[in-house]
Symmetry: C2
Subunit: 113 residues, 2 copies
Protein backbone atom coordinates (compact mmCIF):
# COMPACT_ATOMS: atom_id res chain seq x y z
CA UNK A 1 0.00 0.00 0.00
CA UNK A 2 2.84 2.37 0.90
CA UNK A 3 4.58 1.57 -2.35
CA UNK A 4 1.42 2.37 -4.30
CA UNK A 5 1.02 5.69 -2.49
CA UNK A 6 4.64 6.58 -3.12
CA UNK A 7 4.30 5.61 -6.76
CA UNK A 8 1.21 7.80 -7.15
CA UNK A 9 2.85 10.72 -5.34
CA UNK A 10 5.89 10.34 -7.59
CA UNK A 11 3.75 10.40 -10.73
CA UNK A 12 1.92 13.48 -9.49
CA UNK A 13 5.08 15.42 -8.73
CA UNK A 14 6.64 14.36 -12.03
CA UNK A 15 3.54 15.60 -13.85
CA UNK A 16 3.57 18.93 -12.01
CA UNK A 17 7.22 19.60 -12.83
CA UNK A 18 6.57 18.67 -16.48
CA UNK A 19 3.61 21.05 -16.56
CA UNK A 20 5.81 23.86 -15.31
CA UNK A 21 8.51 23.06 -17.85
CA UNK A 22 5.92 23.02 -20.64
CA UNK A 23 5.19 26.67 -19.84
CA UNK A 24 8.56 28.10 -18.77
CA UNK A 25 11.04 25.44 -19.94
CA UNK A 26 13.69 25.96 -22.56
CA UNK A 27 16.70 28.19 -22.67
CA UNK A 28 15.09 31.63 -22.58
CA UNK A 29 11.73 31.98 -20.84
CA UNK A 30 12.91 32.06 -17.24
CA UNK A 31 15.69 34.47 -18.22
CA UNK A 32 13.22 36.78 -19.99
CA UNK A 33 10.87 36.72 -17.00
CA UNK A 34 13.81 37.51 -14.71
CA UNK A 35 14.73 40.56 -16.78
CA UNK A 36 11.12 41.76 -17.02
CA UNK A 37 10.84 41.60 -13.23
CA UNK A 38 13.01 44.71 -13.12
CA UNK A 39 10.61 46.58 -15.42
CA UNK A 40 8.94 46.56 -18.82
CA UNK A 41 11.10 46.54 -21.93
CA UNK A 42 10.82 47.29 -25.61
CA UNK A 43 11.40 44.42 -28.00
CA UNK A 44 14.80 45.69 -29.06
CA UNK A 45 15.91 46.31 -25.51
CA UNK A 46 15.04 42.75 -24.54
CA UNK A 47 16.76 41.36 -27.61
CA UNK A 48 19.95 43.24 -26.82
CA UNK A 49 19.89 42.73 -23.06
CA UNK A 50 19.37 38.99 -23.19
CA UNK A 51 21.41 38.42 -26.36
CA UNK A 52 18.69 36.62 -28.27
CA UNK A 53 17.86 36.92 -31.97
CA UNK A 54 14.62 38.75 -32.88
CA UNK A 55 13.16 35.63 -34.45
CA UNK A 56 13.57 33.46 -31.36
CA UNK A 57 12.66 36.31 -29.00
CA UNK A 58 9.43 36.89 -30.89
CA UNK A 59 8.46 33.22 -30.56
CA UNK A 60 9.36 33.06 -26.86
CA UNK A 61 7.39 36.22 -26.06
CA UNK A 62 4.38 34.94 -28.01
CA UNK A 63 4.37 31.75 -25.96
CA UNK A 64 4.74 33.66 -22.70
CA UNK A 65 1.87 35.93 -23.77
CA UNK A 66 -0.27 32.93 -24.72
CA UNK A 67 0.23 31.53 -21.24
CA UNK A 68 -0.78 34.80 -19.60
CA UNK A 69 2.65 35.60 -18.19
CA UNK A 70 3.64 38.57 -20.34
CA UNK A 71 1.59 41.43 -21.81
CA UNK A 72 2.31 43.13 -25.12
CA UNK A 73 1.48 46.79 -25.66
CA UNK A 74 1.77 48.62 -28.95
CA UNK A 75 2.76 52.24 -28.26
CA UNK A 76 1.65 54.94 -30.69
CA UNK A 77 5.10 56.43 -30.95
CA UNK A 78 6.85 57.24 -34.22
CA UNK A 79 8.09 54.75 -35.18
CA UNK A 80 5.69 52.42 -33.40
CA UNK A 81 7.30 50.57 -30.48
CA UNK A 82 6.11 47.44 -28.72
CA UNK A 83 6.51 47.06 -24.99
CA UNK A 84 6.53 43.87 -22.98
CA UNK A 85 5.72 43.64 -19.29
CA UNK A 86 4.93 40.98 -16.71
CA UNK A 87 1.26 40.28 -16.01
CA UNK A 88 -0.15 39.97 -12.48
CA UNK A 89 -0.41 36.20 -13.08
CA UNK A 90 3.35 36.00 -13.61
CA UNK A 91 3.75 36.85 -9.92
CA UNK A 92 2.74 33.27 -9.16
CA UNK A 93 6.16 32.36 -10.56
CA UNK A 94 8.06 34.51 -8.04
CA UNK A 95 8.89 31.55 -5.86
CA UNK A 96 10.31 29.61 -8.81
CA UNK A 97 12.32 32.58 -10.06
CA UNK A 98 13.65 33.46 -6.60
CA UNK A 99 14.66 29.86 -5.92
CA UNK A 100 16.44 29.57 -9.28
CA UNK A 101 18.26 32.83 -8.71
CA UNK A 102 19.40 31.85 -5.22
CA UNK A 103 20.54 28.44 -6.39
CA UNK A 104 22.55 29.94 -9.25
CA UNK A 105 24.26 32.32 -6.84
CA UNK A 106 25.20 29.63 -4.34
CA UNK A 107 26.30 27.19 -7.05
CA UNK A 108 28.62 29.76 -8.61
CA UNK A 109 30.18 30.42 -5.19
CA UNK A 110 30.58 26.69 -4.65
CA UNK A 111 32.30 25.93 -7.95
CA UNK A 112 34.53 28.99 -7.84
CA UNK A 113 35.92 28.13 -4.37
CA UNK B 1 22.67 56.11 -9.85
CA UNK B 2 19.48 54.19 -9.17
CA UNK B 3 19.32 53.15 -12.79
CA UNK B 4 22.87 51.86 -12.64
CA UNK B 5 22.12 49.88 -9.49
CA UNK B 6 18.98 48.40 -11.03
CA UNK B 7 20.88 47.55 -14.19
CA UNK B 8 23.59 45.79 -12.20
CA UNK B 9 21.05 43.91 -10.08
CA UNK B 10 19.26 42.84 -13.24
CA UNK B 11 22.47 41.53 -14.79
CA UNK B 12 23.30 39.64 -11.61
CA UNK B 13 19.90 37.96 -11.39
CA UNK B 14 19.95 37.13 -15.09
CA UNK B 15 23.37 35.53 -14.66
CA UNK B 16 22.22 33.51 -11.65
CA UNK B 17 19.18 32.12 -13.46
CA UNK B 18 21.35 31.27 -16.47
CA UNK B 19 23.82 29.48 -14.20
CA UNK B 20 21.01 27.38 -12.78
CA UNK B 21 19.68 26.57 -16.23
CA UNK B 22 23.17 25.56 -17.37
CA UNK B 23 23.10 22.84 -14.72
CA UNK B 24 19.46 21.73 -14.57
CA UNK B 25 17.97 23.22 -17.75
CA UNK B 26 16.57 21.23 -20.64
CA UNK B 27 13.65 18.89 -20.88
CA UNK B 28 14.70 16.13 -18.51
CA UNK B 29 17.00 17.01 -15.63
CA UNK B 30 14.45 18.54 -13.25
CA UNK B 31 12.07 15.66 -14.01
CA UNK B 32 14.78 13.07 -13.28
CA UNK B 33 15.70 14.79 -10.03
CA UNK B 34 12.01 14.88 -9.05
CA UNK B 35 11.69 11.13 -9.60
CA UNK B 36 14.93 10.37 -7.75
CA UNK B 37 13.66 12.35 -4.75
CA UNK B 38 11.31 9.45 -4.07
CA UNK B 39 14.22 6.99 -3.98
CA UNK B 40 17.11 5.55 -5.96
CA UNK B 41 16.42 3.85 -9.28
CA UNK B 42 18.08 1.47 -11.67
CA UNK B 43 18.86 2.79 -15.12
CA UNK B 44 16.05 0.80 -16.74
CA UNK B 45 13.53 1.84 -14.13
CA UNK B 46 14.32 5.51 -14.73
CA UNK B 47 14.15 5.07 -18.46
CA UNK B 48 10.72 3.46 -18.27
CA UNK B 49 9.32 5.70 -15.55
CA UNK B 50 10.27 8.95 -17.22
CA UNK B 51 9.75 7.72 -20.78
CA UNK B 52 13.20 8.67 -22.02
CA UNK B 53 15.41 6.72 -24.42
CA UNK B 54 18.51 5.06 -22.94
CA UNK B 55 20.81 7.19 -25.07
CA UNK B 56 19.42 10.50 -23.86
CA UNK B 57 18.99 9.25 -20.29
CA UNK B 58 22.63 8.20 -20.17
CA UNK B 59 23.77 11.65 -21.29
CA UNK B 60 21.48 13.47 -18.84
CA UNK B 61 22.59 11.30 -15.92
CA UNK B 62 26.24 11.80 -16.82
CA UNK B 63 25.78 15.57 -16.73
CA UNK B 64 23.91 15.42 -13.42
CA UNK B 65 26.69 13.23 -12.01
CA UNK B 66 29.35 15.62 -13.31
CA UNK B 67 27.64 18.47 -11.46
CA UNK B 68 27.52 16.50 -8.22
CA UNK B 69 23.76 16.10 -8.14
CA UNK B 70 23.43 12.37 -8.80
CA UNK B 71 25.57 9.41 -7.76
CA UNK B 72 26.07 6.27 -9.81
CA UNK B 73 26.64 2.90 -8.16
CA UNK B 74 27.52 -0.30 -9.98
CA UNK B 75 25.94 -3.24 -8.15
CA UNK B 76 27.64 -6.62 -8.31
CA UNK B 77 24.44 -8.43 -9.21
CA UNK B 78 24.09 -10.89 -12.07
CA UNK B 79 23.65 -9.30 -14.52
CA UNK B 80 25.34 -6.14 -13.25
CA UNK B 81 22.91 -3.31 -12.51
CA UNK B 82 23.60 0.39 -12.12
CA UNK B 83 21.77 2.44 -9.55
CA UNK B 84 21.29 6.18 -9.51
CA UNK B 85 20.54 8.23 -6.42
CA UNK B 86 20.50 11.85 -5.35
CA UNK B 87 23.62 13.21 -3.65
CA UNK B 88 23.52 15.33 -0.48
CA UNK B 89 24.38 18.35 -2.64
CA UNK B 90 21.21 17.87 -4.67
CA UNK B 91 19.27 18.84 -1.56
CA UNK B 92 20.28 22.44 -2.25
CA UNK B 93 17.82 22.19 -5.17
CA UNK B 94 14.85 21.31 -2.94
CA UNK B 95 13.53 24.85 -3.00
CA UNK B 96 13.65 24.97 -6.81
CA UNK B 97 12.01 21.56 -7.17
CA UNK B 98 9.31 22.30 -4.59
CA UNK B 99 8.51 25.65 -6.19
CA UNK B 100 8.29 24.11 -9.68
CA UNK B 101 6.06 21.35 -8.42
CA UNK B 102 3.71 23.73 -6.63
CA UNK B 103 3.51 26.03 -9.63
CA UNK B 104 2.69 23.16 -11.97
CA UNK B 105 -0.09 22.02 -9.65
CA UNK B 106 -1.68 25.46 -9.36
CA UNK B 107 -1.30 26.19 -13.07
CA UNK B 108 -3.05 22.94 -14.01
CA UNK B 109 -5.93 23.81 -11.69
CA UNK B 110 -6.11 27.30 -13.18
CA UNK B 111 -6.24 26.21 -16.82
CA UNK B 112 -8.65 23.34 -16.20
CA UNK B 113 -11.25 25.57 -14.47
Amino acid sequence: MDTILTHEACKRSQLAVRDTLDVVGGKWKLVLLTVLRTGKRRFRELSREVGITPRILSKELQELEMNGLVSRTVCETKPITVEYALTPYSETLSEVLDAMQRWGEQHRKKIIV
